[in-house]
Amino acid sequence: MEIVCPAGTPASLRAAVTAGAHTVYCGFADETNARNFPGLNFDRAEMRDGIAFAHDRGTKVLIAINTFPRAGDETPWHRAVADAESCGADAVILADLGLLDHAARNHPRLRRHLSVQAAAANADAVNFYAESFGVKRVVLPRVLSVQEIAAINAETEVETEVFVYGGLCVMAEGRCSLSSYATGRSPNMNGVCSPASHVEYHDENGVLDARLGGYTIHRVQKDEPAPYPTLCKGCFSAGEKTGHLFEDPVSLNAEQLIPQLQKAGVTALKIEGRQRSRSYVAQVVGNFRAAVDALEAGRPMPEGMLARLSEGQAMTTGAYKKTWR
């Protein structure tokens, strides 16, 4: 199985390639991609150089152009697709119907993948994108169980890619405006979720409140670790209960499900984290590459290989196990 690794910077790209990534994904340094964070992503020259570096070592590069173009100003997105092609990208990862149509008509030889932000959650939707826009691969939303992924693969020729490690969206991706409701900035329009620019920590009498857009969604004693206030993993009250009503502050780790995902017909395993450091990327990539190589050689999977990286943060297999729902 193919390991698809994040690269937020040219240094991370080189680290991922060197650590054994089959494929690296990255984005241009603007709002055309869903990790539009300060100091991240690639200018055009960096992208060209990064792709050349990767191709020299047999690694593919995918460019995510997976936000939704702004009405009245679609040009930056169209330019991103054109530049991805001229930089030599192996594929673009797109979510918007209009942009998929544009790419299919104007850049027919540029391979198109469907972003998780399009949330194609069943075989009919997947095949629809393939028939309409020639999509060759779909990144599946994190709302599906392994059995459902197998069912999709049984009914489509389109390759499937699934997230196995890193941040976890609890909501169907590309269909969530919680962040813009609280902060005015959203994944779909701005490529950000619960942005740091809207986070405040408030310290009073030994209690530390974490606020997003003025809403207090975490409260810890001052000596406890304070998780980042991502909206869907915040603490709220409803009815008689107070707690993490949507999801605990966990991240995804499906390493132990790799054999099942392979049986389910999955082509590629995706690691989240373009905002992560190159050393993190190198370590996660190295571990997943080792796991996939072991699987393909018929050796047992290395166990608990990523526990160290999570540094006490809770891990989940998310929707892949049906009980998560």
Binding site: A121, V143, G174, R175, A182, F246
Partner: protein, 301 residues
């Protein structure tokens, strides 16, 4: 400008459901979208009542459309989605799965849960037979204006979220079931006790969201009353009102009077506070900066 009533987002008893549409038939609205949007497990409780409700509304001289589910994952949901067009009324696509199933050449409308953020997407949908699009509630006025112009050029009606709790997210997980310590498959219909969703407060006790099964809504009710001139100038064709359990036909009447110039926005807001004093309002997605913001009159309870 016309008024469209969107699909009820909540789980109501079959009796409440029927009487809601009986009342709505008499309300001054042009178009009604009905059916199940949020959770396929609710559908068996009122599915057999849909044909009668359609007849009642059509007989009252209104247009009717049938919504698709917002998130289609299970085999029976795919089958259900495929059968929508057999009901003989227009389908409102709220997940592209429904578009995949529509017979070629059949006109359809597009609901607010399909990502229509730009002219490219709007014109592609028009080329596939879309005759009407309700824009995603997240869009600011500038985008609404661009898209309304593009809609006029493409011969397609553009609708904007005008009133009601905002559909902010949809998930594979049922939060109502989780709150009660159950899984989605064994939810025992935990959402049925909350006809407008269950209030979700922040840790300082501010009302913030409303949970509705697999859906997460805003606590606030959008009210586009102060943006009517801007929307009309932009060429928006219709305002969408989203059902709530109390005073809904009166709310429809107020918006009709507002559009007709009989009452102004301040009057509408005062009247709504008498319908439900706990209803907090927002129009921040249109005006900025945040979706939760409100540009209009503050009514003291």
């Amino acid at each position: 400008m016309e008024l469209t009533v969107g699909p009820n987002q909540f789980f109501w008893s079959a009796e409440r459901w029927t009487s809601f549409y009986d009342d709505l038939a008499k309300a001054p609205v042009n178009r009604v979208v009905l059916g199940e949007l949020v959770c396929s497990k609710r559908l068996p409780f009122f599915q057999d009542r849909i044909p009668d409700a359609i007849s009642t509304i059509v007989d009252a001289g209104k247009e009717v459309a049938l919504t698709s589910l917002a998130l289609v994952t299970l085999k029976r949901e795919r089958k259900l989605t495929g059968e929508l067009s057999e009901m003989g009324v227009e389908v409102e696509v709220n997940d592209l799965t429904a578009l995949a199933h529509l017979p070629a050449g059949l006109p359809f409308s597009v609901g607010p849960l399909v990502n229509v953020y730009n002219e490219g997407t709007l014109s592609w949908l028009a080329s596939r037979g879309a005759t009407r699009v309700c824009l995603p509630p997240e869009l600011p006025l500038a985008s609404v204006s661009s898209l309304a112009r593009a809609g006029a050029d493409a011969g397609l009606a553009v609708e904007v979220w005008g009133h009601g709790r905002l559909p902010l997210a949809i998930s594979g997980r049922c939060y109502h079931a989780r709150l009660h310590g159950r899984s989605k498959d064994n939810c025992q219909f935990a959402c049925e006790d909350d006809p407008d969703g269950l209030a979700v407060h922040t840790l300082e006790g501010k009302p913030f969201l409303a949970m509705n099964g697999v859906q997460t809504l805003s606590d606030s009710y959008t009210c586009a009353a102060y943006q009517i001139d801007a929307l009309r100038d932009a060429g928006v064709n219709a305002l969408r009102l989203s059902p709530q359990s109390t005073g809904f036909t009166a709310i429809c009447g107020l918006y009709r009077q507002l559009l007709d110039g009989v009452v102004d926005a301040d009057h509408l807001v005062d009247a709504m506070s008498r319908i439900d004093a706990a209803m907090r309002l927002s129009d921040g997605f249109l005006t900025g900066p945040r979706g939760a913001d409100w540009s209009g009159k503050t009514v003291q309870p």
